[in-house]
C-alpha cells in the first residue's frame, strides 16, 4: 500500500501505578498505523485500554513507553510551548459523555471559541462570533444557540457542540472516544452521519473508539480489536467481519444481535477462552493474510495460515 501514514503508533505502553508495587498495564505495547483520510476503528470490551490508548496518543497521559509519530514527528517527549500548541491544533478529541464534556458555566459561544482564543485564530469579537456561528451551522445547529448554556441542549445536540469545539482549530486528525455510546440509537446515526459528512468535507482522519461493533463497521475503513491492553487483530473492516481469525474477535462478532428472529434463533455465542493460546510463546502481531494482522505465536501463525488456504 502506498497510502500516506498520518499517525504511527509503535509499541505504545501506558502503565498506571496502583500502590507501591502493583501496576496496571492498561496499554501494553500497541502498534498500528493510521493512513491519511481513513477512519480507524478501535473496538474491544470495557477496560481493555481503548480509551487509554486514545488519551495517550493525544498526550492527556504520558506514555510509559513506545512512540507516537504524527506526520513523521514524534508526539511525545520534551517539547516547548509553541510546538505543543502546534500539535494541539492538528490533533483533537471528541469525548464520550456529552453531559460532562461541556463546561456548565460557559455559553456555547465561549465553549466553541475556546480553541480559537488559545491559538489566537481570530482578531476581534465579531470575527470570533462569526466563526462560531459557521461552526454551529456545519454541525447542524442553529446559530442562535451560541448564547445558550449546555444544560439547555439534548445529548445529541451537546455532542455536536463538542464536535464543533474540536473542529474550531481546524485539526487534521480527530480521536473520537466513544462519541456515540452515551446517546440513544436514533441520535447515534445522526452523529455518525455528521462525522462522515465532516470527514468528506474537510478531509479528516478519525480514530474511532467504540464498543458497538455494528456502528464501528459502518464508519470504519480498518478496525483494530483490543483485548487486555493488546491489539489482537487488525484488518480492513469487511475482511475482519467476514473472516475473523483470532478467537477473541470471533467471540466478539458472535455477540452482535441482529433484528432477524431466524438468525437470532440460530446464533450461537462463542465464549473466548484465553488459555487456547498456551502460556508459552512469542506473541506478536503477524500478517496472516496481506493487510490482516493477528496477534499469535509462531505455532498459531502457521495454523492460521494453513486455515486461510
Amino acid at each position: 500500500m502506498t497510502r500516506e501514514k498520518l499517525l504511527e503508533v509503535k509499541n505504545l505502553q501506558k502503565h498506571f501505578a496502583v500502590g507501591k508495587k502493583n501496576t496496571i498495564k492498561a496499554v501494553d505495547g500497541v502498534s498500528f498505523d493510521i493512513f491519511k483520510g481513513e477512519t480507524f476503528g478501535l473496538v474491544g470490551e470495557s477496560g481493555c485500554g481503548k480509551s487509554t490508548t486514545g488519551r495517550t496518543i493525544i498526550r492527556l497521559y504520558d506514555a510509559t513507553g513506545g512512540e507516537v509519530k504524527f506526520n513523521g514527528e514524534d508526539v511525545h517527549g520534551r517539547k516547548n510551548k509553541s510546538e505543543l500548541l502546534k500539535f494541539n491544533r492538528k490533533m483533537q478529541m471528541i469525548f464520550q459523555d456529552p453531559s460532562s464534556s461541556l463546561n456548565p458555566r460557559m455559553t456555547v459561544l465561549d465553549i466553541i471559541a475556546e480553541g480559537l482564543d488559545v491559538h489566537k485564530l481570530v482578531k476581534n469579537e465579531a470575527e470570533r462570533k462569526q466563526k462560531v456561528e459557521e461552526l454551529l451551522e456545519s454541525v447542524g445547529l442553529n446559530k442562535e444557540h451560541a448564547t445558550r448554556f449546555p444544560h439547555e441542549f439534548s445529548g445529541g445536540q451537546r455532542q455536536r457542540i463538542g464536535i464543533a469545539r474540536a473542529l474550531a482549530v481546524d485539526p487534521e486528525f480527530i480521536i473520537a472516544d466513544e462519541p456515540i455510546s452515551a446517546l440513544d440509537v436514533s441520535i447515534q446515526a445522526q452523529v455518525v452521519n455528521l462525522l462522515k459528512k465532516l470527514q468528506k468535507e474537510r478531509g479528516l482522519t478519525y480514530l474511532f473508539i467504540a464498543h458497538d461493533l455494528s456502528m464501528v463497521k459502518y464508519i470504519s475503513d480498518r478496525i483494530g480489536v483490543m483485548y487486555m491492553g493488546n491489539l489482537v487483530e487488525l484488518a480492513e473492516s469487511d475482511e475482519l467481519y467476514n473472516n475473523p481469525i483470532h478467537p477473541y474477535t470471533k467471540s466478539l462478532l458472535s455477540a452482535i444481535p441482529l433484528p432477524d428472529p431466524r438468525y437470532e434463533r440460530a446464533r450461537k455465542r462463542i465464549a473466548y477462552d484465553p488459555t487456547v493460546h498456551g502460556t508459552d510463546g512469542d506473541f506478536e502481531l503477524r500478517e496472516v493474510v496481506p493487510g490482516h494482522f493477528v496477534r499469535c505465536t509462531a505455532k498459531e501463525f502457521e495454523r492460521y495460515q494453513n486455515e486461510q488456504k
Binding site: 505543543l84 500548541l85 491544533r89 464534556s101 460557559m106 480553541g115 491559538h119 447542524g140
Partner: protein, 384 residues
Amino acid sequence: MDKNNLKNIPKDLFVPLVRKEDTSEKISAPSRTFFQDAKRTLFSNKPAVFSMILILFIIIMSIVGPWMNNYGSDEQDLKRAKMPPRVPAFENVSWLGMNGTLSGTFQGKDVQQASAKAKARFDNKEEFIDLEVINKGDGTRNSAEVKATYRIYEAKDMKDTYFWFGSDALGRDQWTRLWEGTRVSLIIAFVAALLDLVIGVSYGGISAFYGGRVDNIMQRIAEILVGIPNLVIILLMMLVLKPGIISIVIALSITGWIGMSRIVRGEVLKLKNQEFVLASRTLGTSNGTIIRKHLVPNISGIIIINTMFSVPGAIFFEAFLSFIGLGIVPPDASLGSLIDLGFDNLRLYPYMLVFPAIVISVLMIAFNIVGDGLRDAFDPKMHK
C-alpha cells in the same frame, strides 16, 4: 377501521413529514445563566431575604449607630453608672423597660420592712421611689411584698439625659458601645472569613490540581494542623500576640481555613478529570486559564456558601474569646466583651446583657438562614 380498509387508502394521501432544520432545533425557554437562576431562587426565599435585610440593617447601624447620640464609647463617669434604658418615645410605656426606671419587688415581714429594703436598695432617695403594695403580709417571714419603682434619672438630676440602652458599670453609654462592639465583631468575622477564603481556596485548589506528591505533602501538613485542638492553638496565639482585633483575626485564621481547603480540594479533584477539562487540555489551554475559566466558576457556589457559614462561626468564636477575657481589651468593646460585662450584672441590671445578646443571636441566626438560602440557590435541582 379494519385492516382491509387500511390497504384501500390511496398512496398519494401520504405526504412525508418534512422537518425544518430551523424549527426542529429551536429552544423556546428563556436563556438564563446559572447565577441568574441562583439569584431568582434566592430572592424568592422569604426568610433568606428577610435575614439579608436584617444583616444589612445591623451593618448600617454598626456604622452610623455610634454617631446617633453624643456619648463616646469610652466616656467614663461613675456618677451615671448603671443607668437603665431610657428612650424619649417610650417613657410612658412601662412594660417595655425603656422608661428610665429601675424596679423590683421586695419582701419582708410586713409592708414597712419590705419598703425599708426597697429604700436601701435604691440609694435611700425616698421621694423618687414609687411604692406599690402587692401583699400586706401576715407577720411571718417574707410574707409582705412591695413593688418599688425608682425614677433614677430624676434622682440623679439628669432629667434631660437619655441613655437609650442604659449605661454600663462605668457610666459608658451602652447604645454607643453596642454598635461599636458590633462593628468590631463584624470586622473580625468578615476579615477572618476572607482570610479563610483566600488561604483555603488557594491551598485546596493547588493541592488538588497538582495532585500526586504535592497533594500528599500538603494534606499531611493540614492534617497536623487539624490534629492540634483548635482552642489550644488560639489560646496560645492570644498569649503570644498582643490582644486586639488583629491578633484575634490571626488566631482565627491560623486553623480556620482548613475546612474551606478540604471542601475546595474535594471539588477540584472531582472536576479536574471531567471531560470538559480534558477537552480544554487537548486544545492546549494553560493551567492558569483552566483554573480560572473552568474550575473556579464551577466551585464558586460552594465557596460562597462556605464563606457565609464561616462568618457566624467567626462571630461566635470572637465572642467566646472575649467572654473568657482573651479577646478585645477594654476600653474597646465587642459583642463578646459586652456580654461578659452584662453577665456580671445579670441579676440587678439585666438590660446590660439583653441588648448585646439579642444582636449576636440575630446576627448568627440571620447569617445561617442566608447561608441555607444560598445553598438552596446554588443547587440546580432547586431552580424553578
